[in-house]
């Protein structure tokens, strides 16, 4: 086996993990942590950054976003821990914080932390996130608990269905962290390319979305998910409408063009 293969294997990843705590200013790769409430996002965050965000066994422990960083594989990763949310369509101010960051913070990789014992409900959010971005890693957390409850998960099947990396882990035991690091790195580098899920729309809605998406694409050429934005506007989403009016959508567009040019 070549030295290169060793260097990129999972065990080496963990050995080379350098927790950078709060040094976020030098961030290169932006990693967003999202997921349903009480799935262990902050535990994953603490595992990656070496910080000690308050974690607790109840939904709503994190209400503001926390940031930290780690270095792995030569790249500095800035990790953003978001409040838990059941859906991207929803409303409370902690959930808004999560959604706005996914939409307008333009993370390089979005890690959706999923409670393996409650897969079906958690998948709703995964599917919604996949409508926005294809740079997604699913962290299938609490595998130890799933095993204890006699729940077995077919990770390969899940990966095939979702078409993004799925990493089984148990964050509070530190299991699966190195595999998560690897999945994040390869997704950020573009060596693993996920597929965002096309919006399946009835014909009349599709026509309206296409029309609007066309206009949006002319206006904001850098925006990668114009069809999703178009759909949200048609549904009358207040937060997206605000973003359009107050110019945040335009700013995001400018940032994305910059990134594509470089």
């Amino acid at each position: 086996m070549s030295a290169d293969a060793c260097g990129s294997c999972a065990v080496a990843n963990l050995a080379n993990l350098q927790r950078l705590g709060l040094q976020v200013e030098q961030g290169e790769v932006v990693v967003a942590l999202t997921g349903n409430p009480n799935t262990g996002k902050s535990t994953v965050f603490n595992m990656l950054t070496g910080l000690r965000q308050h974690v607790g066994n109840w939904p709503g422990t994190t209400v503001t976003r926390a940031e930290g960083a780690y270095r792995s594989g030569g790249a500095v990763h800035r990790v953003v821990d978001l409040p838990g949310t059941y859906s991207l369509l929803s409303t409370s101010s902690d959930e808004d914080a999560a959604r706005d960051f996914l939409l307008f913070g333009d993370p390089d990789v979005t890690v959706v932390v999923v409670d393996a014992t409650r897969l079906e409900r958690n998948l709703n959010l995964v599917l919604q996130v996949l409508q926005i971005t294809d740079r997604v890693v699913v962290a299938l957390n609490m595998m130890d608990e799933a095993a204890r409850h006699g729940v077995r998960l077919d990770v390969r099947h899940l990966e095939r269905e979702l078409e993004v990396p799925v990493v089984p882990m148990s964050a509070r035991r530190g299991e699966g962290v190195s595999e998560l690091l690897e999945a994040i790195a390869s997704t950020a580098a573009g060596t693993t390319v996920g597929r965002s899920r096309p919006l399946r729309l009835p014909a009349s809605v599709a026509a309206a979305v296409d029309l609007l998406a066309g206009r949006l694409a002319m206006e904001f050429a850098g925006l990668s998910n114009v069809r999703w934005v178009a759909l949200r506007l048609l549904e009358g989403d207040a937060s997206i409408t605000d973003a359009l009016v107050d110019g945040r959508l335009g700013d995001l567009d400018a940032a994305m063009r910059c990134r594509k040019a470089s």
Binding site: S92, Q128, E145, H149, G150, P202, R215, E219
Partner: protein, 470 residues
């Protein structure tokens, strides 16, 4: 404006779409999630949750049993805290105050330090800090890990579940139970935690009533008062149990006040619908005991202690200074305390206690040290230097308050009530300002508890005097 033209287009397009198309899209996502999950999950025929989980929930969320269990659990937490903190507190007091203070004083005097410098640094700053450590560190180091263990176990959402019906009855949001629990640690954190409540009306209620959760800066005051004034009313073997019961009683009173204030607000100025919400009861998880103890000591206890020390040091200097600046024969502190005394007497307290609450606005943690230092310097001119208390041989807190300050059981009880019902600390007030972005509501949240405190203590005092108890 380009954006507005775009929005006009959006409105036009939307008019042609079938109604409810958005709902259909959500349903499609749910169907897809269900299909994927069905194909990926194999439950092996085992029940989804272990049997003991369900049994535990049947007890802890029982209509009656749930409340009994809640009372027993919290009572045990405080009993452990009070019983366990007594010995280390005495030890710390002996080391830091009885021996440490004269030792450091003699070092300063030996080095030829001027009297005012020794006064400010040793009698002011050092003593203030030493008192805070002795009074606060032991109870916090026991209380925080115990509370965090309950939190890690997954008990808090069960409390929210139990209290939900009561909150709904009071016109408040059920998730307020969670922010209330956060408030038992720190009110500023509790106020920030109200972001989990969607409705602005219910969030405001949760913010205003959060102060009725006793924060960790106030527990030591309650514990001390319960121990000195109520524990001593019964035979020694029962003292700890009675003291713990009195603390739990005040905490429960706080919850009752929360409900009453929430009801009144939601029936008057903050009228509106009660929102429907989902509350997940997470599975019980075995707490990671050592990690919990480590993080709750390092992160919470030391953080709170640091904050207390940062506040105590300047407060100590302020107390020494106002006790030593003389205007017309008596100190500034004496003038201020005398001015506040009439109000204090009506409330069954005294001017010194009220002055301490003014000095200690930055942090509730330093109330007791401040009261002690002021009591000694003002109350016993004969045997104490101005601003210093440690020259007394009987320097234990109880002896000082009863012997020098002339406190009675009524004073102790009223201080416990006032500990529950007074303005939030300055950090919390600033947090309320930031979260509500409203001067009006910040003012309400600040003044309302103070007004309640005045009414309640004046009420108990009046009643006690009427019946000749005090």
């Amino acid at each position: 404006m380009e954006a507005h033209a775009l929005l006009a287009d959006v409105d036009r397009l939307r008019a042609d779409l079938p109604p409810g198309f958005a709902d259909d899209l959500v349903v499609a996502i749910y169907d897809e999630a269900e299909a994927i999950a069905r194909a990926s999950v194999d439950t092996d025929g085992l029940p989804a949750r272990l049997v003991w989980d369900q049994r535990l929930d049947r007890l802890l969320t029982h209509r009656v049993g749930g409340f009994v269990a809640m009372g027993v659990l919290f009572y045990l937490v405080f009993w452990f805290t009070i019983a366990g903190a007594a010995l280390p507190s005495d030890l710390l007091f002996e080391v830091l105050v009885e021996h440490g203070h004269p030792a450091i004083r003699s070092v300063f005097e030996g080095a030829g330090s001027p009297a005012w410098l020794t006064g400010v640094l040793v009698d002011g700053v050092y003593l203030g800090v030493a008192w805070v450590v002795a009074v606060m560190l032991p109870p916090m180091a026991i209380f925080f890990p115990l509370f965090t263990l309950l939190e890690d176990l997954g008990y808090l959402p069960r409390v929210a579940f139990n209290l939900d019906r009561l909150f709904a009855g009071a016109g408040a949001h059920g998730k307020q139970a969670l922010t209330m629990m956060m408030g038992f640690g720190c009110n500023a954190a509790g106020v920030t935690a109200t972001r989990i409540i969607d409705s602005p009306r219910e969030r405001l209620i949760a913010i205003i009533t959060n102060n009725f959760s006793i924060c960790n800066g106030r527990w030591p005051t309650l514990i001390l008062m319960g121990t000195i004034f109520l524990g001593t009313l019964v035979p020694a073997p029962l003292a700890g149990a009675v003291a713990a019961a009195s603390v739990v009683l005040v905490a429960c009173l706080g919850i009752v006040v929360s409900f009453v204030v929430a009801s009144v607000l939601s029936r008057t100025v903050l009228r509106g619908e009660t929102s429907v919400y989902t509350l997940e009861l997470p599975p019980y998880r075995r707490p990671q005991v050592w990690r919990t103890i480590y993080t709750s000591v390092v992160d919470r206890t030391l953080k709170v202690l640091t904050r207390a020390l940062v506040m105590a040091a300047p407060a100590g200097a302020v107390i020494w200074s106002i006790s030593n600046v003389r205007i017309g024969g008596s100190s500034l502190a004496a003038h201020l305390a005398a001015a506040l005394d009439p109000v204090g007497v009506v409330m069954g307290l005294n001017g010194i206690i009220l002055l301490a609450y003014v000095v200690a606005i930055p942090a509730n943690e330093i109330i007791i040290p401040t009261i002690l230092m002021l009591t000694v310097s003002l109350g016993a001119g004969a045997h104490a230097q101005a601003g210093v208390m440690m020259d007394l041989s009987t320097a234990q807190a109880g002896a000082v308050l009863v012997g020098v300050g002339g406190w009675t059981v009524l004073t102790g009880v009223n201080l416990m009530l006032f500990t529950l019902l007074h303005h939030p600390c300055s950090t919390t007030v600033l947090t309320i300002g930031r979260e509500t972005r409203s001067l009006k509501w910040t003012a309400v949240a600040t003044v309302l508890p103070l007004a309640l405190g005045f009414l309640v203590t004046a009420g108990t005092t009046g009643a006690a005097r009427l019946f000749g108890v005090a």
